[in-house]
């Protein structure tokens, strides 16, 4: 396990150094995107329309933040990660088309995303679920917001961050998936626990 500090834009070469279990901290540009934003970005691409943001090399964050406007300035109140599995539908294509290098969320992602990470050079990282204040502290500024018509949680918030993390690499570019590794161990442990407690194994 190693610790890395990255500045955006992050290159393909950078992320190919990472292995599951590594810890990274990101400084630079972080963009939030949930289901709706993923969907719209891909629709824009289809239609050949220009996106308001260049995603190449930035860190993409699955997050619906609470933001307050005080005297014309956006202030981040809380910005913890949201469950990433909902974005599984879009993420592989998103990685392919927009060359994002770091995806951040919670709960893990599936096979399609892992394959895209391997093929195009991206990693998926876990940020501690619920750690909203820790995240908000690392956000130094709201640089801009796009697609606010989708609502506050679904909009694209462009943050300037400093040492955003700790982020645990959970899917690397070698096809490894930390969540899957843990869960297959859990299944094996479950059998032993059942035996120890004298419970029947069938399910």
């Amino acid at each position: 396990m190693a610790v890395f500090r990255f500045k955006t834009p992050v290159s393909e070469e950078d992320v190919r150094k990472l292995k599951i279990g590594d810890i990274i901290y990101v400084t630079g540009t972080l963009v939030t995107a949930r289901d709706e934003a993923h969907k719209r970005a891909l629709e824009y691409y289809e239609k050949g329309e220009k996106l308001p943001i260049d995603f190449e090399g930035v860190a993409l964050y699955h997050c619906g933040p609470i933001i307050k406007k005080i005297n014309d300035e956006w202030i981040t109140v809380a910005a913890g990660p949201t469950t990433s599995t909902r974005m599984e539908l879009f993420e592989a294509e998103f990685i392919e088309k927009f060359k994002v290098r770091i995806i951040i969320g919670k709960g893990g992602m599936g096979k399609k995303t892992a394959e895209a990470c391997k093929k195009y050079g991206a990693v998926y990282c876990a940020f501690t679920g619920g750690a909203a204040v820790l995240a908000a502290e690392a956000i130094k500024k709201v640089k801009s917001v796009e697609w606010l018509d989708l609502g506050m949680p679904e909009a694209l918030w462009v943050f300037e961050v400093e040492n955003f993390g700790p982020l645990t690499v959970a899917i690397d570019t070698y096809g490894n998936n930390l969540y899957h590794e843990v869960m297959s161990k859990v299944e094996a442990n479950k059998k032993e626990i059942y035996e120890r407690l004298g419970l029947k194994k069938e399910e």
Partner: protein, 295 residues
């Protein structure tokens, strides 16, 4: 002194305490877990949680962006007179807390999908009433996050499966949930009664400090056994592996119908928010879960 105002202010304060500061038992358990873990990934997750808790306390901001659905447990005493209009007072306090703290508006109409914007709506905040003897009013606020609530389950087991079936059901619920409910989790388990009673008891069991075992030694033993088993699964903090999947298992039970064996499991995330206070007729307020003077 205006007692109605006192109740409203205390309730707002309880909501603020609950979302910005964890009760001592949970905080201590998280610290102990951090010390115990040897796995680097697990340690990193627990450290992030502990740092987050400290920051939330210091900046008086909600420790998690999901400030939950607002649930109250209220004990009213036969000798406490300011009872009429209490549900309105609690509603007003919820609206105020939503604006002042702020809390995330989390009350959505299930058919129109419209968010009320202030955490109130039909049956929400939800109030559990209990009448006891004495001369005070006891209010517990219990904001419950959605991510962990979604992993809660009800099992209508066959009586023949008995205690063994119950243990399996609890362990399976945890394994199925994996990292989704933001572990380390706390489990509330309700056994018996009926479908609704088992779920209600499961949630109510979460009000008991995790350091306190059930008074019935038989039940206490099962609580310990299940906690150990769950931590042996290796799911770990955030489902990334480790020794700490759960901080505590609290069981509550009721007698059951001979033909049914209901088991309710309510999953609570590490952000186990709750706060309790007693209000006396002379306006004195006593906080039971948090070490604070009055605000």
């Amino acid at each position: 002194m205006n007692l109605v105002q006192k109740i409203e202010d205390t309730t707002v304060n309880l909501l603020r305490l609950a979302v910005t500061r964890l009760p001592r038992d949970v905080k201590d358990a998280l610290k102990a877990a951090y010390e115990r873990e040897t796995d680097q990934t697990a340690k990193t997750q627990l450290k992030a949680i502990l740092d987050n808790i400290t920051l939330a306390e210091k900046t008086e901001r909600p420790m998690c962006q999901d400030t939950g659905v607002i649930i109250f447990y209220v004990k009213i005493c036969d000798k406490f007179e300011e009872i009429s209009g209490l549900s309105e007072i609690l509603k007003t306090a919820t609206v105020r807390a939503t604006r002042e703290i702020p809390l995330r508006p989390n009350a959505v109409h299930p058919i129109t999908q419209k968010n009320s914007g202030d955490n109130t709506g039909r049956y929400i905040p939800y109030i559990n009433w209990e009448i006891i003897q004495g001369n005070f009013l006891e209010i517990t606020v219990f904001p419950k996050g959605g991510g962990s609530e979604n992993m809660s389950r009800l099992g209508m087991l066959k009586p023949g499966e008995g205690v063994e079936g119950m243990k399996k059901f609890v362990i399976d619920t945890v394994v199925q949930a994996g990292g989704q409910p933001c572990p380390p989790i706390i489990l509330g388990v309700g056994i018996g009664g009926g479908a609704d009673i088992a779920m209600k008891l499961a949630k109510k069991a979460l009000l008991r400090p995790i350091t306190q075992r059930h008074p019935d030694p038989e039940i206490a033993k099962i609580e310990e056994e299940l906690l150990e088993a769950i931590n042996e699964t290796g799911i770990g903090p955030m489902g990334l592996g480790g020794k700490t999947t759960s901080l505590g298992v609290n069981i509550e039970y009721a007698h059951r119908h001979p033909a049914s064996y209901p088991v309710g499991v309510v999953v609570q995330c590490w952000a186990a928010r709750k706060a309790t206070a007693r209000i006396y007729p002379d306006g004195t307020v006593e906080y039971l879960t948090h070490e604070v003077g009055e605000k």
